[in-house]
Symmetry: C3
């Protein structure tokens, strides 16, 4: 158990909290896509804006790392956590853009299982946003990563059943290929939230 | 060459040995899928059980890391190795489940190249299970990782030729899409064994 | 800012410079595939040769790491950078081999967007080859990784528009599946260049 002087500069935690807060905005926008009569183009454009905000936060974090003499925990871990939070947003944005670009929203309705994965992502985003401020004390984080991993399993199951449905013969091959791209981004977002949780776990294990 | 006190607590090595032994059970079950008249549902259910065993081993290992004051090598490396061994099993289980869920076993026969990748996986599993106990002395491991990488190359070639066959026009597009999912999990398992071997190599390089 | 004795042994930098130089040869070969009347089999075979050269460089680097008492920066980072440069080449080689194996070059012409991604890869390769010798001083590298990331974004956009075109109904489902495999390797190569750049950034951040 190392003794470690924690600098009082809290701005590192602020970056993580803001980045995770942005992910909640992202999953809320994806949830809107399930609403009847939604304007997919508008939602997709708002997702792109939220993704640009995430990029700005990530770059400001990197600048902060490079200009700081002392950091609250390992420089590389701060770097990695920032970059993994950014990865989640990239996948959320991709879902909106691909749905729009492939014209998939002209289908009578998207499969129910797709909305189930979005629900899982929304829960993961809220959990992550709640957990980030607790990095400051490195306490009470275990429940977060356990639950985030459990949700990833739930997402995996929904993904599997969604593929079974896509391959059932209900859709033609090209539609299946388009949907598969979207669904793979949803699943990658689910995984990316788990990578964030695993990195938090690694940091806590190292620092404790 | 650092001097390093190795604690006599051997249970860390036991975890790795048991996890790798479980992977042999997994590849043996996949090999059964090539047998004529096999009951795919039963094999798939047994794979799920073996995967649950792997999860239990992995979680016990993480608990052990968190409660140990001294570890035989870097905490993070123990963590990573455990997590990568677990990844292999996730892919093995997925192969069985997808074959069953997509009803692919109703095909007259699965392509020969698919069984070739399973054979490669079985060899990688046995090599890995043999190598894990040698982590204790960090000796005679080079042959393991070299051979495991060679097998991954062999698996890659089999994968490539399997895709050529799948895309040849012999199967309809939806069947190709289903088979592709299964085959991608086989290939991911092959890669995951290589990641285990690369991590062992990194650990040996660091500790020597 | 740590004081660190840099050994005068420059051969580590030579490995990185040669590995990146080889990637330029790889992207030049891919660029040839856009030329009218090109012999795809020959280009694909030359790519396999260049990939073997990369393997030889990577293994020589690993040997050097294992036999060196002092290294210019962290052993693991040298290892990772070497392995990531090698990954890029694996994807470049795969593009050539798959185009040939799937017989895709018998199509009247490959989509324009595909050549755009090849152009991006060629720019990334040249940037990387230019940057590697600067690792010796750890100076003037920021522009490299910023530009390499920007190019990856450009590649991502080209990839997205290429998929929109592939799924437009212009090609039959099996052709789409084959092209998708090739295009995914191109996109993975683009990502792999970004991973190289990110690793260089991490090393510079750590060492400065």
């Amino acid at each position: 158990m190392r003794l470690r002087l924690r600098p009082s500069d809290d701005s590192f935690y602020d970056f993580f909290t803001r980045a995770a807060g942005n992910l909640v905005k992202g999953t809320e926008l994806l949830s809107e896509l399930a609403l009847p009569g939604v304007d997919v183009q508008t939602v997709s454009e708002r997702l792109i804006e939220v993704e640009h905000d995430s990029d700005a936060i990530t770059h400001a974090l990197y600048k902060k790392i490079n200009s700081s003499f002392i950091t609250p925990f390992d420089r590389e871990d701060i770097y990695r956590l920032g970059s993994l939070l950014d990865d989640v947003m990239d996948h959320l944005e991709a879902v909106g853009s691909l749905l729009y670009l492939y014209g998939l929203t002209k289908l009578p309705s998207l499969p129910r299982e797709l909305h189930e994965i979005v629900k899982v992502l929304d829960q993961q985003a809220r959990l992550t946003a709640d957990a980030m401020p607790r990095l400051k004390t490195m306490k009470n984080l275990e429940e977060y990563w356990v639950e985030c991993n459990r949700l990833e399993n739930e997402g995996d199951n929904a993904y599997r059943m969604l593929l079974v449905r896509l391959f059932s013969g209900e859709y033609d091959a090209l539609t299946v290929l388009k949907m598969k791209e979207v669904v793979d981004e949803l699943e990658a977002a689910c995984d990316a939230f788990e990578h964030v949780a695993n990195t938090v776990e690694t940091i806590v294990v190292k620092e404790s």
